[in-house]
């Protein structure tokens, strides 16, 4: 009998994970009532079960976090903010109008909440998560875990189980909130795990503008982390303009899972601005769940030094006659790296949908690198979906032209970069946000 050849498989690329594990325990899961308690239990179970993601997972192939000092992080105790740098004043200024309808400041171990009485009387709820857990358990039951599944990943489970605080925004049926609502997540300190959970429900026919900003001081040589969940529901005929900005310090490892579901004839205008953090891995998904639902996603990012920002977007057309329009634009300096990975998914039967996605990158130094990966998965036959992805460099001719008019090199570069971002500015209905992005460009180009 012939002996079977012995096959030896040697894998040269073994997924070696040197990542540390988190030291969080079940005792760190904050107690909650009914639905919150069961949600957190399931998040905790998922958290225990899942290892830290490594580059063998498709979604994490381009973002390596094996150096994350997970074992170092701890949660801030109550009142910790008293011993940490206070929130930067400029972050508290209104961005999209002269004044706020309400403002929440989330701090390590504390928060400040303000809401216009008029809005409160109309039934608008805009408060922090801890307060909502006490006062609005029934509302929370309709919001928590309703769009992001904690099982999506290690960090969604982490944020679900250990949210230290968050924002709960509810706009009742038919209520039109004129003055924008504003929240700031201020994350000072080192070796801290800032964990946030943001929940938004805009009920039938209601409308609101909400700006959320996460920021921290810049601390060289240190580490902190943020893990966040953003769960949004835009109900029938409702409208939400949601602006989220992050300017985390260079020592912050930033992870977020975000998902917005838009019901019949609802409308979401979703704007992202990202300039901070050491590493960001963001999953942002738009579910167009009801017929006629519309969603627009506009992203601005600018990286430098050795920053690494990874945005993973998904536009899910789950019903007919839905429209999505995504444009992410980024500039890169230094040795920084950006990743954009986008997918338009059209479910069977979601006919007459119109999906668009584009990602444009401007690489300003030889050592920087942008990866741009668009994708389409279309299971309906009467749809219109288009996409585009580009990575370009600063060209010599426009710079020479501008310089020939007396404009110095650095300013000429800034003009070209601003011009590059202009299509994003055109999509942003708020002058204050546009000004903020201009300021980001000026700071990064300085």
């Amino acid at each position: 009998m012939e002996e079977k050849p012995k096959v030896v498989v040697s894998r040269t690329r073994k997924a070696v994970s040197t990542a540390k594990e988190f030291n969080f325990t079940e005792a760190d899961v904050r107690a909650g009532k009914d639905s919150v308690a069961s949600y957190r239990t399931s998040a905790w179970n998922t958290f225990k079960k899942l290892p830290l993601p490594d580059t063998s997972l498709e979604a994490w192939r381009r973002t390596d976090i094996h150096q994350l000092p997970a074992d170092k992080f701890k949660f801030a105790g109550g009142g910790a903010f008293h011993d940490l740098p206070p929130v930067r004043e400029d972050l508290l200024q209104p961005l999209v109008a002269d004044q706020h309808g309400g403002q929440i400041v989330l701090l390590p171990g504390g928060s400040k909440i303000e809401l216009d009485e008029k809005l409160a009387k109309q039934g608008v709820i805009f408060t922090d998560l801890r307060n909502a857990e006490e006062k609005h358990p029934d509302l929370l039951a309709k919001m928590i875990g309703k769009t992001v599944n904690v099982e999506e990943g290690k960090f969604s489970a982490l944020a679900g189980a250990f949210a230290q605080n968050g924002v709960v925004l509810y706009v009742p049926k038919g209520v039109v909130v004129e003055e924008p609502l504003h929240s700031v997540l201020w994350g000072p300190g080192t070796d801290i795990a800032h964990i946030s959970h943001i929940l938004v429900l805009v009920d039938d026919g209601a409308s609101v503008t909400y700006v959320h900003e996460a920021a921290s001081p810049d601390l060289k040589g240190a580490n902190s982390m943020h893990a966040g969940l953003v769960e949004i529901q835009v109900m029938q005929n409702a409208s939400l303009k949601f602006v989220e900005l992050q300017s985390w310090g260079r020592h912050v490892w930033n992870f977020s899972h975000e998902r917005a579901r838009v019901e019949r004839d609802g409308n979401l205008d979703w704007i992202f601005g990202a300039i901070g953090s050491r590493i960001t891995k963001n999953f942002s998904e738009l579910d167009l769940a009801g017929e006629g639902a519309q969603g627009r996603m506009s992203g601005f990012y600018f990286t430098d030094g050795d920053q690494h920002l990874d945005h993973d977007t998904q536009q899910n057309h789950l019903a007919p006659h839905t429209t999505s329009d995504l444009l992410f634009k980024g500039a890169l300096k230094g040795k920084s790296r950006s990743v954009w990975q986008g997918m338009i998914y059209v479910a069977p039967g979601a006919q007459k949908t119109d999906g668009y996605q584009a990602n444009r990158n401007l690489v300003l130094s030889d050592a920087a690198r942008a990866d741009s990966i668009p994708g389409l998965e279309i299971l309906a036959d009467d749809v219109r979906c288009t996409h585009g992805a580009t990575v370009g460099k600063l060209e010599q001719e426009p710079l020479f032209y501008l310089k020939s008019r007396g404009i110095p090199q650095k300013e000429a570069e800034k003009i070209v970069v601003e011009g590059f971002f202009d299509p994003i500015f055109q999509r942003i209905p708020f002058e204050g946000v546009r000004d903020r992005f201009q300021q980001y460009i000026a700071d990064k180009m300085a």
């Binding site: 001719e397 020939s404 008019r405 007396g406 110095p408 003009i415 011009g419």
Partner: protein
């Protein structure tokens, strides 16, 4: 009175010598025209004077206001008083004509005085409005992105608008007539003539005599194979129009060492 003095200018692009010892003096208050067949280095001269990084100067100097401008960056040359109206103006998407011009004016002001707060908006608006009316330009032009989707005529008019706003002392017009119909040509030329004054010298680079019917030169120079080979008065242009470049080529080649 200052003048632009080009002395023994040698320029190469990608290792190939294009300008081979060019001498020329452009005086303020005068219009100089350079004519010559295609491929003799006219645009190379224009780009080199403005400092395009692809053109390598291997010898010679260009003196203006006591400085060798070849040692200056393009923006410094501009602020010193040089201006180039491009043959092919570059589109700058996302930047409006108005914003761009204000930036250019403010760059000048800040170079003189680092504390300068920039031109006041009302003053700038009035300036722009006046210059645009002079060039018969629609006011909404100021809000369009610079050269982005402009027609050939619009681009050339935008170049002259920039010249009118920046008020250079030496203006180089590189084939400004190319791509223009007769009406656009007239408007652009009238604009240049209106701007002309005793403090501004103009160097008109053109392949055709046509433009010189509108912008009257004081001096005409013929360029061939990287050098000025013939200089004369306005008659020289007419002569070239009539006889072509062949007679010069023959004369020049006879003179050239075998």
């Amino acid at each position: 009175m200052s003048q632009l003095e080009i002395k023994n200018l040698h320029v190469s692009i990608e290792g190939k010598e294009i300008l081979k010892g060019l001498d020329l003096t452009v005086e303020q208050g005068k219009v100089h025209a350079i004519m010559g067949p295609n491929g003799t280095g006219k645009s190379t001269l224009a780009y080199t004077l403005m400092g395009h990084p692809s053109y390598e100067v291997t010898d010679g100097e260009v003196i203006f206001k006591g400085q060798n401008v070849l040692e200056l960056e393009p923006d410094e040359r501009s602020r010193l008083g040089l201006f180039l109206a491009f043959q092919y103006p570059v589109a700058i998407p996302g930047v409006t004509v108005a914003n761009f011009l204000r930036t250019a004016i403010n760059a000048r002001r800040r170079a003189e005085n680092p504390e300068d707060k920039g031109i006041p908006i009302p003053e700038f608006r009035k300036l722009l409005k006046d210059k645009m009316s002079m060039l018969k330009m629609d006011q909404n032009f100021a809000g369009r992105y610079l050269n982005d989707g402009f027609s050939g005529g619009e681009k050339k008019r935008a170049e002259i608008l920039q010249m009118a706003t920046l008020q250079p002392e030496i203006a180089i017009l590189d084939e400004t007539d190319s791509g223009l119909d007769i009406d656009a040509l007239r408007i652009v030329s009238e604009g240049v003539n209106a701007l002309m004054n005793k403090d501004m010298g103009v160097l008109v680079i053109t392949h055709y005599q046509r433009l010189l019917n509108y912008i009257k030169p004081d001096h005409v120079h013929v360029m061939m194979a990287g050098r000025i080979v013939e200089s004369g008065g306005p008659d020289l242009a007419l002569h070239l129009e009539e006889k072509g470049y062949e007679w010069i080529r023959e004369k020049y080649e006879e003179e050239a060492p075998a």
